[in-house]
């Protein structure tokens, strides 16, 4: 198989990968709606003064509307703002009947979330209206955005990789530059075009806009309002600056363009999941420590291939082989750290689309590292003894590396579009404190504006203490009539065990007992009887070791 054939196969793989990305078309979003007031399907006795939505992180409002049963908009909030809580005042004295609240917001990682909830004033309807905000176009835009992002990654990798390569081999800059100028030129162009296209696709996702030329202006403005615009503008400018400084025929500098090109890679930290992770002071540097060496590495395969066509390529390959392992070590370590920050649990790795894509990526990276090791310790030493044969063999393996690298970039582009388990965790539990040092397990949940924190210590089969801490809206004290726990483990065939939790302090209810007798995933349902007629129910899975 020649290098050219392998490259052709790589392009095919990329096509298949992107096709998969398009068909998967993930339309998820990454901020999570925690609670609404009134709650979905709530029946309120009198019309509320306002409707409020609470998310796990600050979101940007695209719209929120309240419609009556005939579909008339009776209240609407203007776009803008950046808060975790959105409140929409309602006009006074709404008559009895059903109401729909439909909303669309952007999370800080530039993904749109929309939904609809229903509530009734007065009597509950026989049949609740269908409350499904169907995104019609956003999923397709999401697929296009993933393809576009993969191409953008590739362009950035090529430009930065080639620029850094020339800097490292500066003795041969005069030979390498003319060889690489046209591929780098194409990559700069691709990078700028995909940066602009990213703004449009983001706008399409935000607005759920149809594919019509008339909407391009709206899509552009909506896209520019997201964090994507920062990355797009910075990346396009830095790519053009790299071209200007390092690749024009009269250019001589090697390090200045490399610094600019690396800065272009760093723009990737301006948008995406890492921005919204709670610890972004940590995730952003870790992301950069992962993405910069990774993209430089993948991007250096092309110049290495081209250099190996000529005899002086041996020198370049030897030098590359000395430097690359340091970068690889950093990128793998940072990649593992990022994976931990986004996934958190083993279940998250195997049970979610994000985790599965991540596993696939890890397998491909493993294969890539294996080939890199063969290159480094078997083929590179041969360059001195049997240069021509070794160069031919190296060109084949580097082409395979390039193919794997492109596939990995494509998967990474899909990952950027898929909600990480970290954000899904927030959907069921707002505060998730699982401290490895302390035995035990704790989750928090909000229902009907009241917060319950449930702790099980030590969360090992046998005797456990189950503690429930309750707070009302605005973190006020509440004094329920009773707090009941119902413990079940369907996998072990254990039907609910119902226990009253005695009050041990203000808002604290606790029971110590042998009920959690077998390991496995238990479901703990907490019924809080607020008064004779009102009950709030929380339910959480509790892993017992």
């Amino acid at each position: 198989m020649t290098a050219r054939q392998i490259l052709l196969a790589a392009c095919l793989c990329l096509g298949v990968g992107l096709g998969a990305a398009l068909s998967a078309a993930p339309a998820f979003a990454h901020a999570v709606l925690l609670a609404t007031e009134p709650a979905d399907r709530a029946v309120v006795e009198s019309a509320p003064a306002s409707v409020s939505l609470r998310f796990n992180e600050p979101v940007q409002l695209v719209f929120v509307r309240v419609l009556d049963a005939s579909g008339r908009v009776i209240a609407e909030a203007p776009a803008g703002g950046d808060a975790a809580q959105i409140a929409l005042p309602l006009p006074g004295a709404l008559p009895a009947g059903n109401y729909l609240v439909t909303y669309r917001v952007l999370s800080a990682d530039a993904h749109a979330i929309s939904g609809t909830l229903v509530f009734a004033v007065g009597a509950a309807p026989e049949q609740w209206p269908e409350a499904q905000a169907q995104d019609r176009y956003a999923p397709t835009w999401g697929g296009i955005a993933a393809v576009n992002r993969a191409l953008h990654f590739l362009a950035l990798a090529l430009v930065a990789g080639a620029t850094a390569f020339v800097a490292l081999m500066k003795g041969q800059a005069g030979v390498l530059r003319p060889l690489l100028r046209s591929p780098v030129g194409v990559a700069v162009l691709l990078g700028v075009v995909t940066a602009v296209a990213a703004v449009f696709t983001q706008g399409g996702i935000v607005l759920d806009a149809p594919f019509a030329a008339a909407r391009l202006g709206d899509m552009w403005s909506a896209g520019m309002a997201t964090t994507q615009s920062r990355q797009s503008i910075a990346a396009a400018a830095l790519l053009l600056a790299t071209w200007q400084a390092g690749w024009l025929p009269r250019a001589r500098a090697v390090w200045a363009p490399t610094v600019i090109a690396v800065a272009a890679l760093a723009t990737l930290a301006a948008t995406g999941h890492v921005v919204t992770a709670a610890t972004h002071w940590l995730t952003v540097p870790v992301l950069l420590a992962h993405a910069i060496p990774a993209l430089l590495w993948v991007g250096s395969f092309v110049p290495l291939l081209l250099a190996l066509e000529g005899r002086d390529g041996s020198q370049a390959a030897l030098r590359f082989a000395r430097i690359a392992p340091f970068g690889l070590f950093i990128l793998v370590a940072a990649g593992l750290a990022l994976a931990f920050l986004q996934v958190r649990t083993w279940d998250g790795l195997t049970g979610t689309a994000y985790g599965q894509a991540l596993l696939l990526k890890a397998v491909l990276v493993g294969a890539l590292l294996l080939i890199a090791a063969i290159n480094r310790w078997r083929l590179t030493p041969l360059l001195q003894s049997a240069p021509d044969a070794a160069r031919a063999a190296l060109r084949r393996t580097i082409a395979i590396e390039l193919a794997l690298g492109v596939a990995i970039l494509a998967i990474t582009a899909v990952l950027a579009q898929t909600p990480p388990p970290r954000s899904q965790l927030a959907a069921t539990t707002e505060a998730h404190g699982h401290d490895a040092a302390e035995p035990g397990y704790a989750v928090g949940a909000v229902a009907q504006g009241k917060t319950a924190i449930l702790a099980v210590v030590p969360a090992r089969a046998g005797r456990n203490t189950i503690t429930v801490a309750l707070r009302g809206g605005g973190w006020t004290d509440i004094t329920p009539l009773s707090v009941t726990a119902s413990l079940s483990n369907t996998a072990a065939g254990i039907e609910p065990i119902v226990r009253d939790l005695p009050r041990v302090g203000p808002g604290i209810y606790e029971l110590t007992g042998p009920e959690l007798a077998v390991p496995g995933e238990w479901t703990v349902k907490i019924d809080v009887l607020l008064n004779d007629f009102d009950r709030v129910t929380y339910s959480a899975p509790i892993p017992v070791q």
């Binding site: 029946v43 006795e45 009198s46 009895a96 007065g122 509950a124 007629f533 009950r535």
Partner: protein, 169 residues
Amino acid sequence: MSRHTSLATLLAALTAATTPALAHVGLEPAQAAANTTIALGFRIGHGCGTSPTTAVKVRIPAGVTAVQPQPKAGWTLTVIRTQAPAGAALAADQPATAPVAEVHWTGGTLPVEFYDTFFLRMRLPATPNATVYFPVVQECVTGVHRWIDVPQAGQPEPAEPTPGLRLTP
């Protein structure tokens, strides 16, 4: 029209036949025309296991107005009214005009082998085809039934469902 009606009746009969009659609070009637005044009975057909019923408390849902409970021999009748609206100081000497929030019949004894019906007169809301749910708490010498879980479409019926009155056009 009549075919539809008879089909609906048949379905209703089938549903009634297959639904376990025990462990529920029954409403008499089970449905009524919207925007009319009716006397609605809450039928208590059992106690808490073997323990006799000692109190029946009903919460009045929103939209139901002009509530008048029927006193019952051997039971103490208490009416809990909502707070008078702010600025209604002039009405303070007429507290009986504030809307009824809850009605409690307490202090009686209803042995498990007997049944009894507790009546309220009320004006029903003008929302045909809706179901009005009346949360009921049934207290016994030992134990309590809280009929406060509203059945949800597509969900299994709760263990202690809230009785619902269907409003017809």
